[in-house]
Assembly symmetry: C2
Homo-oligomer: 397 residues x 2
């Protein structure tokens, strides 16, 4: 199959590219290196010493004998994107190419506009390019569980059957996301659904939980193939950050009481899910939504798991409550459905102490690279508010 | 009250500005004249001979003795917008400043991107400017009934209580709009809701039906105060277009069987509704949605009404079925709630033959200005499709 990976230089994009390439598919990647650029702007970087895209592709050719095509450019550049699609004629497109950070989207007006512009307009350009060049192509778009927010009813997979005043319809699940980044995904979702309804395109949205882990079957084959691993305020996610904090002896920063519950999954399961979506495509005109996570945890459960796992390796890990920089409920109902990918054959890697210890061991190897300054949150959802409180917490010894 | 009208040179913006000014409020308008520019690009224009904004404001000062402030610039220009808000310190902002045409948004990738960029990024800039400069200000944003699409259940006002698996929540009403323009309003809606939830702003979204009519109490006071009246493919709406067609002897272009049902309201009721929203503001942190229409009609009912009304004035009006350029259901369930504005005191002007005849008489005065070429639809929702059929219909004598 001809597969195009948008954002193919990223945390998930690069391992996905290798996975499909290993599976015998003809893979090309598109990236504009915005993640690398944002890190340079913040004087931060990946914990793992990632190679340039050209190096990675060369290393992969040596390891696997397979070529991966590369295109450097932005999806906001519609002419570039259409040329890439006309040249590669993909049968499936996996779209990771978005600004993916909630705190980044909340740090300023400029960053909010950049996020919604990059994500929404980029995806809109993509829909037109698919319509005009490869209308049968299956779009697999990474979304986020964060689109749903934390409603007081069970979260379904994209759609919900509503009975109302004696009538029934199955409609898009209502969305109340918690950041301007998550909103950009809600906007994408509505636009993609429209393109399927009106133009007859086919798409699968993978509303992904929080991903953890760093190694995949392919990246383990050579050091030069390692994927990025972010732990900083903007691009780090909670479990990855806790593991880095455990290794460097930094207290684990639990926001508030840590009652926030979310869906999580292992990076290896991300690859499984994307593969299942691509090999079981949506029908023409169909817009499917799969909730892509394997387990639900509260933040304090994760902190406790990392503490226990770390202790066995000799890390004395402290948990510290930190004022919540976001506006979110600390205690809330949360129960999300995730059966569609299981039905397609997903075999989850469950999270446990052994898995956390394997992450801690990888981080231990690179701990000299940790930039501690980058860990604590400085972006508040509501500017001004909490600032004094947060600063006090930061000064605490 | 200090009131800022965004899009204050437009079809509804200008009459709204005069209305509030007549009511003793301190009114300023912002406009970048994009509607005038789009007309120039398409070699079309308003049926009514509208004056420049400066002329209008001067005429209004002569007629009423009241000044209206003017600011020329775009909401996409965040610095301009923030300066205007810092200078005028509005207590209420009425936001009409969007690209409002569904066919325009569907005519090309460029127009689609322009629509979503202008509308979504402009409104996002506005939310930040309100947050940072006038956090108590009440935002009254014009949305559209088209955001809901045509679900098989009753349409509620913005939110719906859902019972699901034994639990309950009141959540945003699911949206399945029919064009990339309508989608831009759905995106705005989600962003504004977020700003109210997270930043504590206050906003009312007025999901408006199709507006008809041209004259308001204020515009009737002097020729130079007349508002624009569009009947062209892009900016004309169905009843206004039928009336123009009746006067110039052009067959009324009903798309398909004309079974499409929508909410409608008189331009005078738009002003009443906006006034009711402004004078009964939302609470801080509240995001309210009012469905702003007074009656529901199918397209064929409207065509029949115009035919009957026209006959009495001696117009021989023919109805002609035209292939539907949009992708939409011709027959569908449609029942939308609209009690909130009635509860606030809205007294509807109902549509009837006398009202249609008064529109026909105003149009008769300006019929020498009609550009017939601009009436028939050339934009198809699905490019290529229907084209042959539409061209055949156009060639029909």
């Amino acid at each position: 199959m001809r597969i195009l990976i948008l954002g193919g230089d990223g945390y998930l994009g690069w391992p996905t590219a290798m996975r499909f390439s290993a599976g015998g598919h003809k893979v090309s990647v598109v990236d504009n290196f915005s993640r690398r650029r944002w890190h340079v702007q913040h004087s931060t970087g990946s914990l793992t010493p990632i190679r340039s895209l050209a190096d990675r592709v060369e290393a992969w050719l040596q390891v696997s004998g397979n070529e991966i095509g590369t295109f450097v450019g932005s999806m906001e550049d519609a002419d570039f994107l259409e040329r890439v699609i006309a040249e590669t004629l993909p049968e499936a497109i996996v779209h990771y190419a978005e600004q993916p950070s909630a705190p980044y989207s909340m740090k300023s007006r400029e960053a909010a506009v950049e996020t919604q512009y990059t994500n929404v307009i980029g995806t809109l350009n993509l829909l037109f390019a698919i319509r005009d060049r490869v209308p049968d192509c299956h779009l697999v778009k990474l979304g986020t569980m964060g689109e749903y927010g934390t409603p007081n009813i069970d979260i379904e997979e994209g759609f919900i059957e509503i009975e109302h005043k004696g009538r029934r319809d199955t409609l898009p699940f209502p969305k109340m996301p918690g950041s301007l980044y998550h909103l950009s995904n809600v906007h994408d979702s509505h636009n993609i659904h429209f393109a399927c309804r009106i133009w007859g395109l086919r798409a699968t949205e993978l509303n992904q939980g929080v991903v953890y882990g760093v190694e995949t079957a392919e990246s383990a084959e050579h050091d030069r193939l390692i994927t990025r691993f972010d732990y900083d305020e903007y691009f780090g996610t909670v479990l990855n950050r806790f593991c880095v904090q455990a290794v460097i002896g930094h207290p684990m920063t639990v926001y508030g009481e840590g009652g926030q519950t979310r869906g999580f999954l292992n990076i290896r399961d991300t690859l499984q899910c994307v593969e299942l979506a691509v090999t079981n495509p949506a029908e023409l005109g169909e817009f499917r939504v799969f909730n892509q996570f394997t387990e639900q945890f509260s933040v304090s459960q994760l902190a406790e798991l990392v503490r226990r796992s770390g202790e066995e390796l000799g890390y004395g890990v402290e948990v510290r409550s930190f004022p919540i920089p976001r506006i979110e409920a600390e205690r809330h109902y949360y129960n999300a459905t995730n059966t569609k990918l299981i039905d397609l054959g997903l075999k989850p890697h469950h999270l446990g102490e052994e898995l956390v210890r394997s992450m801690l061991r990888i981080i231990e190897r690179h701990k000299g690279r940790v930039i501690e300054r980058a860990i604590l949150p400085t972006t508040r959802w509501k500017p001004g508010e909490l600032l004094g409180e947060v600063e006090a917490a930061e000064r605490r010894p």
